[in-house]
Symmetry: C2
């Protein structure tokens, strides 16, 4: 907990929400100067514990703590140190620093595990600055190529690439970013829930069985820039009016299918008071517990977009649109054996009444690792379900309980 | 026409829409380097004709061509040389350069008018970079103060002020910006229509009797930043969803009242794919032919905003909002005598069949000058009614006809 707050203070504290010095969020965008600083710090801390470090060609850092049978593939654990621009102190960070605390605990107690243990800081999980979530863990898992991610552009300047930033901050490593060349035997991740369920049920530990399917569709609607003062409503081809109909429409679709659909990133051209918007670019984020549910939401959202493009509220001339519709992250089902290890560890730490089987609303690096190695996750409660907001908070006692479940799980797995 | 194209080429050509070199728009934002360059050029050109120059403390340039009775207040004509970011070659520019052509014609023909004639380049008519339209003409007319406009901030960086830019480009003049200290006897302005009416009616000259009332309201809706992957639709306080309902709602309101209502400038916080928008800022542009009509639109738009803020599509917790609701530009009624001068001049140039009495959809510097001196305006057709778009176009023959009506009007007024 001290390390969570001291690293927040050193590397990107932002967004004051209360009078205490720890009551701020963190803004530490992937591959920024602050991300470099926290990566440097992470390497220094793990080296102090006797870890050997590998940085791969996508900026992932693997800190390997030696085991008795040191030529075996290591037990993996990890999460991410990058944050949202309006991020809190816990999202991702809690997972990496709990892993660090596991290694510190082994070291302090002079425990040598049977197998090596590798703690990973996955690069750009958030997808906030470079709009692909689980970026570098997806390359490691083989579902994205390094060329694809190198070309991604900073959403703020639409220019700076991932490759440029990896080089600039010195994290374009030499290790191949690939689960075959640089293997883990499994992947454990602990994370804050970022949603309201554990708190509402008054549970302390979430034992995750999987995560929602989701997809991010990039959509551009083209209208016609015209003067707002001289163009009658019935003559218009207003790309923002069409987008407004899409925003309200997808909201209904999500509710119908008991899933999620959100438009939260949007830009206008030309974005001037008295010019009817000629172009709107936005991202549609859709999610569902099942792959079939996601497919239904997608289909109905596409119908909403098509309907809005007919421009019935304007001059009835169709507004062209483009959709970049990548392959979705499918619903994740975690490894039965690992889920059991976590479930037993949770029972040992908090008892049967305070643990809860659930799935994750958000995507996590574990969704990528699960594609290639046995993976499972632990959740701790988030106050009011708030995340991606400086006010994100988990009680210190709950952070402690979660850490103990992670430690227990790693030791049980190592012993099995 | 040559001057229109040569100045476009020299000072900000942008937005290619056809293969000809003249087929681009112009981007020359108020008080930018390009605006300085065109102002310098304007002064050099008018000085060549024997004009004396005054720059006032709001960046307006007055070029005074001498008359026989040179101690009289001058006949005024003017428009603006700043453009929209996606502007065309004619909006404002056509008015200033037609005025220049009037002066050139007098000079070439050795005509000394009875009274001095002052051509004005009004500063920041568009309100695109600094969001107040008719900015410096409104100060001259006494309805805005120079302190108010000095403090306006560049909408792109939310930092640079008008005062800073006036100083930087050397156009913080010494003449008082005031119709009393620096008077005109009247104000004539020629402008492209920027709408579809003249073209549809197959008329060549619009004789303007007035202009619409309008207002720009700055609105901020506050929601709650939360994770899009973990926050159920029914738990959300989505500021963009509320804004979408406002956008579709005001569209209906405008149609009901046969007026205009547009949202064309909008920004989100935090503007990230997977964070429910916590804040949306936008400008609502409302217009009507009459002041009463504008008041009705305003009232009904405020009701739409209130209704959307109830957040019924989310968790039903009200979303707070703020509205900055400045005093509207009232409906303009131009001076009867000047309208007659233009009407007679138009009859002389194009005949009774090709002129049309109408009012302006857009605001113009003449709406400001009309508050303090007799004012009237001339329109020429806009192809497809398109403006605030690089494709803005008026046929060369129509530009020529308009110029001849302006020249005729100035001479008639001078002779009367
Ligand atoms: N945990 C998290 O915020 N991941 C980012 C990807 C997502 O939006 O689910
Ligand atoms: N003519 C023109 O575009 N003026 C700017 C003010 C307005 O939007 O009407």
């Amino acid at each position: 907990i001290d390390t969570i707050h001291s690293t927040a203070d050193m590397f990107g504290a932002k967004g004051v929400w209360g009078p205490e010095p720890t009551q701020t969020g963190v803004c530490r965008l992937a591959l920024s100067d602050l991300d470099k600083q926290v990566k440097d710090w992470f390497i220094a801390e793990t080296e102090k514990l006797g870890c050997t470090i590998k940085v791969d060609e996508c900026g992932n850092i693997f800190a390997r703590y030696p085991g008795k049978y040191d030529d075996h593939a290591p037990t993996g654990m990890g999460s991410h140190l990058d944050t949202q621009p309006t991020g809190g102190r816990y999202d991702g960070i809690y997972g990496v620093l709990s892993g660090l605390q596991v290694l510190r605990t082994l070291k302090e107690n002079n425990i040598t595990p049977n197998f090596p243990i590798t703690l990973v800081d996955w690069c750009n999980e958030e997808g906030a600055r470079f709009a692909m979530s689980l970026m570098a863990s997806s390359v490691w898992a083989g579902v994205k190529t390094k060329e694809e991610i190198y070309a991604l552009k900073d959403v703020y300047d639409n220019e700076t690439t991932v490759l440029h930033e990896l080089k600039r901050i010195g994290y374009l490593g030499e290790t191949k970013c690939c689960h075959k060349a640089n293997p883990l035997k499994c992947h454990f991740e602990i994370h804050i829930e970022q949603g309201p369920i554990l708190e509402e049920l008054e549970k302390k530990i979430g034992v995750l069985t999987g995560a929602q399917a989701y997809n991010w569709l990039n959509i551009k609607v083209t209208g016609m820039s015209q003067h707002t003062g001289t163009t009658p409503m019935e003559f218009r081809r207003d790309a923002l009016l069409a987008t407004a109909k899409i925003i309200t429409g997808i909201n209904e679709v999500a509710k119908q299918h008991k899933g999620l659909a959100s438009i939260a990133k949007l830009s206008l051209l030309p974005d001037v008071v008295n010019v009817v918007p000629g172009e709107v670019d936005f991202v549609l984020d859709i999610r569902h517990e099942t792959d079939e549910g996601l497919a239904h939401i997608r289909k109905d959202c596409l119908a909403v977009i098509e309907e809005a493009s007919l421009n019935k509220a304007g001059n009835g001339t169709r507004l062209p649109y483009t959709i970049d519709d990548p392959y979705p992250y499918p619903a994740t089902h975690f490894d039965k054996t690992l889920v059991d290890v976590i479930d037993q560890s949770a029972a040992a730490v908090v008892g049967d009444d305070l643990k809860h089987k659930m799935y994750s609303g958000a995507g996590h690096d574990s969704c990528a690792t699960n594609l290639v190695v046995p993976t499972a996750m632990i959740f701790v409660p988030s106050r009011n379900g708030i995340s991606h907001n400086p006010e994100e908070h988990t009680e210190p006692e709950d952070l402690e309980l979660g850490f103990r479940v992670l430690l227990e799980s790693i030791l049980r797995y190592d012993a099995a």
